[in-house]
Point group: D3
Chain length 338, copies 6
């Protein structure tokens, strides 16, 4: 049954050097528009749900280009506001082998989204029209007004019986010095409101300050996640363990904790074309599984395969259909499809 | 000794999304013209033979572009007719790692080639001017008129003492429901006319309906191919076994059956840049070996190396010279050539 | 007051050689999706109305790309059906100076739109949800089933009190021999149903077979158009006179006949970047003026300026906003806007 | 005799949509780095002087790319500081004919240049190493700290016997409401310090608030400019009158006031490829003429031809050599040079 | 009646900066292969004759690319030799308006063509297989061995009853100091051998040292050309007068002198996209007219229209068909062809 | 402590087919300028030293483009002379997997650098302004005048107390038949002058004709290098052993012999994006380590990591900073940097 899904978040302009040159060698950029909310909501729209983004864009040529791009990604324009002057931007230089990819942010703090004043969003109206709302820890790091919008919308959706999804996604560079301390109360607010949470043991230890005597990631995970679920009353906690292999392939192991039980995907190993945004594909798989009533073991496998395929797609935003993902769950890599 | 070689077949326009975007993400396409006959005849021209294509192209800008492209590939324009309105087209989206490449055909059934009326080709004139003629199972799947052209030309070349090459190349999507049944009589007609046949055990079992109690591909092959050769009076039967490995490399094992004996290439394992058309490079290697009087063991090795190199070449059409292939048969991959 | 506007028509894939090379010199194409309905409905959406397209696209990668492109153009997916196998295509080679642009069509007759069976569109449902519906003479030329869809939809919208727009747009190459004769009854059907008609004196003379003793275009126009309006009961008839000047600029004079009165725009003279689709911009201006209650003299000036600006825009589809057009109506060409 | 020339100013990243698409139609951008100071100092370096830029760039990939670009333009890195986080950016959509070009700024107020703290530049050291320093009204509009840097550097250079060039270049959008009032005292400070000033009668009237009863631009110019020169003790005042013609060509008339006398260039009329930065080419011509001891009539002709050629060059920054410009002053447009 | 046409000449690699950047601003080049012989022979092949090039290319990747390009242009590979090491090259920067295009040659003196030793070409064999052979003054400027090849081939063709075409095409930079003196004896040799000569009054005055008291170009032309025809026994002399207009359009007036009579084309005025090679299109029109038995007035009009259209085509090599040219002779520039 | 570093050598224009097409399939090239000296001096400039190139470029558009490119690479223009007519060029076709990359040189023997006459370079002036000078065996292979420049400069720098670096870099194709014999005396001259030498056991055996009974590369190395150091009085000898693995990765083992002791890097294994110029990155690492007083074990590890990273960079010229290399020495390949 298709759900109405909103994501709250900033639209970023991605300015990518084509090929493998550095910015200082290049003269051209490919651009697209993305963001955690964009990625999750459009992936869910691709799975058959209705997706929209709650955000603010400037009323100029850059805002128009962003809005057009989001429509192309199937995001309904209903809750995209216009105001302010800028879209946040980042430059991406593709890595190769031993040389990692490099992201350089341009000023996002003055963006239309981050300067949208109180009252910009009619949270009651939104809450009435959506079944699920998605938030992310990157947004939480921005400023007090953004956090105000965020919590007000989460509360409104919860009050109307909707599902609140929160992806912890802690970015140290955004919170600055003493970041964990600053972040903790806001994370706790969101965790109390959330039904589905994306996180792993590191978030529990570093952001929430939880302790464990365990040494392996897996032991830490299985000890801490149930404690988090219990403490904040969270229905589903899901996440991944990623490892980067010597041959530049990545491995991904998905987990999902629900009804006092852990479910794990197979450990998938694959070549990477574009790593950015792949975590959002995993999130979209979890939300889709829950929204569609998949069994947890199917949900976590679907989410992991969605995450794997997102690494093979150009751009931040997942582009695989449900049937693409289901086939990737069952088949070996095949020959040309024709 | 250089031979005069003709191939009968359709020219397709390949519209390829550059890089790794999907068609729905892209705004540009690279185009080229290819087809089994194009690939085989031009590869043989590159080896020093004279190559031409028996086909029909429209008398418009698209037909002109196709003809120019074929001239560039060293195909003489002698037997390219002009008529009808369209060139068959296909869209290609490149896969990456876990995501397979995807081909979407546009309408080929109304193409100039597939609507060329009886009498379009002067088969007697062609037969007098060629030593070898090549046909393919894809063409056989088109329609009755095309099959008429095909069999008439094969008979004429045979009657004039030329060599007939037939590549089984059964494509299920082209024959539709009950395809094997529909296809069998036409395949049998061509096999009776052919001197050199490209096929493997699957064609024998599925298209010709032959039975075997053997379980491995190799056992099936060595049982069935001699039976086919005997039944249809075929001088040479050749083909490959392909496997796709976990790390996305492909492996290719070439075989050739001649004078009651099987000859096998080494099993070659290699990275793949562009898989389409690589089978035609293998065919060209077999035909070149036979035309040049190579020993069978050299022919099958040459064909397999030709096939391997074709996977490293942009586009459907093989571009390696005889010396490129001979070097690839003997040397490890080397450093930059300068 | 924003209207809900639907257009009925085929989506074409435009495959354009970049720059000024011929197809036979090039290896790359830029592609986009357009069509008279696409152009008119999206231009109206840009002016603040709600636009959608009643059409059929294939359920494959090409259809997905078309649908994404249309969403980007603000066309709601509500009445886009999926079925059939192909999208109509055309190749465009840009002319330069003394060398005209050249269009080569690929097969559109087998397209999803042109093979969509009876019953594909729920005309009653559509009629209930739209205020205005747009049709075009190109669509009328396709085949009987398409004409059936077309007339059924026009009748249903009319029956529900909506406005029917019909653009005569007679293309000789589509109707073939004795085209005017074949076309006339269908044109008459549509004219009887239409409220707003795009045509000029040539359509009256050639398609409708009307006679005039006048010799200048302007005299013919002013004699024949009122007769057409009277005979078919049409509220508004509008169109343009285009001339191509020696220095490759074009001139456009817009007219509009309403309430027994002719209104004319200024004669606009301008450089041309991309001529295709500019007529649809003019149509969109007339419809917008009528839908917005502009005075006729403003409507015809707005439409002519919209048409002029569409010649300066890349691609078939108009991209100017209402404010862009209003400014072009009043100001001389200015310096960089910054 | 080659001079050592510094310009003080911000480096902007120009993100240009290639061809004639709008940002909302495109997916690629060409980028370069420019700014009034960049343009003037590099043009003078091309004429054989030593050029450098006094500015601040971030110590990240964008700053590295800007620095590399400036080195390519022959600007010595001596006084380029590193600090802050951002480079100012603007998006450029090329106009065509009736559709003007459009510039959309991204946030420049938080750029490294505009946030560089007091004490960033060692004005004494700079003043000792340069013969001429160039400033611009755009920089003057930024903020108090920038103005502080600016005036301190101007004073230091003047104190060391150097020449101060000031280009009025008033941009209404940067000064906001009551802009003329806010700007006037700062403009007066700079005019008192300047030896060579780029301005015309509009600056005198609007920024300096001078009155005239004259009606034509030429009369206003010849009345007001001598008054400005006298009041502020300026040696040379130069500028242009630009007109945009109906056929999209531009006309440029250069003037120069020196020793109580006006000198005028021919009125040049020409096609425009890239208008941005052409005014800086004119400035560079005036400064080069003065620095090289040209007669005023040659200087003003040279500057006008430099300005004209800059309209035919891709990018903001003039690329013509002294010999290119001298030839353009004397010859008609010629055939291919080979 | 189709003729067999050979051209003797060097193949040059054209390395063109795309768009309007200078080489020092760019990072990419478009390349193609051309040359006077290439242009003339391929244009004639496009008109239905058989074209081939007598030349030498290196046996390496660059030579292979050149050979493939020439095949695409319909030039038969029969007389393309392989030897030496290099292909001559030139860089092209496109001018715009007041800024002329600029050609920079790379080393052509060591090219395969210019170092091909005596005996490279079997002139007897060539002479037997061609009806017409074309030479050009650029080739004549190279070195003694090239001149030897050239004259030997001209003599052989003449001896076998073929037609010799010679295009004077004097390039001062190739002959160096005292160029006219050095060139004259070689030009006289070629003129004595030639049946059709491309030249105008300037060649007569400067290369042949003829005197005239006339002042206008037209008077000089009509006095000198008949004298040249008489002195050297030339059947047809043809050429053009080109003028470059203030608005950057070019005008072309073609003339042809035959049977003691001058025939002139209309003076054509047109916009220029790519001027290089347009003179070769004119030559091809003259040769085609003579080869096809056109009346002289048609020939000169056809040649002038061929020349005009070649200015609208990307690259050096004419691409227009006979029907394109015939239409351009009769029709005004039209709307899109579809 | 930053050093002043000069390299003596030719600037080559690299013309690279983008992607994986062959030159005969392509129509576009990317170009850049490089050379051993360019690569080493600019890498050292990136590490904080002052770099310049002693070379000669033509005074035309190609020379201007080369000079601009070198400035961008931080090479000071001080000792770049202008003269002659050409820049040496090479074409690069990228290999893929089993198909090696291919380099085709255009004529370099007539380049400005290789034809610069005696007296072009003021070696005394250069020697006074540099601390280190770099030479390479490729340059040594050119001609007698180039060797004269080279040895004179080496002697002058040595006489002024500077450090002389010599990279043996023997290229068989440049020395031709009996190359080792011809080369040996010149190599000996340079080795007697050099303080730091890049070579391995093959150079000792083949160029210097030294004998060894050892069979493994490592044994040969450890026997021969100390002998070379002793015989020619060389302070540091360094080099690499490269192996190409079956999966197309390369492995690099760096060595450095100093103070009678061998130091080895770890054996690094990595994917290769662009192999050309990677040896120069290794050289730059050795020189930087020596110039900066690194311990030998750090120097050799730094050089090997610099070499490894250079394989991941587009173009011949290393682009990694000191901190990039230090991180690559210590960390595993990481995730996106942001």
């Amino acid at each position: 049954m298709a759900k109405r899904i909103a994501a709250f978040g900033e639209v970023m302009m991605r300015l990518q050097v084509p090929g493998y040159e550095l910015l200082s060698q290049a003269g051209r950029l490919n651009f697209s528009f993305s963001g955690t909310g964009v990625n999750v909501a459009s992936a869910l729209a691709r799975f058959g749900h209705t997706g929209c983004l709650v955000t603010t864009l400037p009323a100029n040529a850059v805002g128009d280009a962003a809005a057009a791009y989001l429509r192309k990604l199937s995001l309904a324009p209903t809750f995209m506001m216009r105001g302010g002057n800028y879209v946040g931007m980042y430059f991406l230089e593709n890595g190769f082998g031993a040389r990692p990819s490099r992201v350089t942010y341009s000023n996002r703090l003055e963006s239309s989204f981050n300067t949208a004043p109180e009252g910009t969003y009619d949270v009651e109206a939104i809450a009435k029209q959506v079944d699920v709302v998605h938030f992310c820890g990157i947004t939480l790091a921005m400023n007090d007004t953004v956090r105000l919008h965020m919590k007000a919308l989460a509360k409104a959706v919860k009050a109307h019986g909707g599902t609140v999804v929160f992806d912890c996604n802690y970015r140290p560079s955004l919170w600055g010095q003493d970041g964990y301390e600053k972040a903790k109360p806001h994370y706790e607010d969101m965790l109390h409101l959330a039904d589905i949470v994306m996180m792993n043991e590191k978030d529990a230890m570093f952001v929430l300050g939880m302790n464990t005597g365990k040494e392996t990631r897996m032991e830490q995970l299985t000890e801490l996640i149930p404690a988090v679920a219990a403490q904040y009353g969270i229905t589903v906690i899901a996440g991944t363990h990623r490892s980067i292999n010597g041959d530049n392939t990545h491995s991904l192991l998905g987990f999902m904790y629900k009804n006092q039980t852990f479910f794990f995907s197979q450990k998938l190993t694959f070549s990477v074309y574009d790593r950015i945004g792949a975590g959002d594909a995993y999130t979209s798989g979890i939300v889709h599984g829950e929204a569609s009533g998949f069994l947890p073991e199917k949900t976590v496998g679907f989410a992991a395969a969605a995450g794997m395929l997102a690494h093979t797609i150009a751009g931040d935003t997942p582009m695989s259909s449900e049937s693409d993902i289901l086939r990737a769950m069952t088949e070996a890599v095949g020959d040309v499809e024709r």
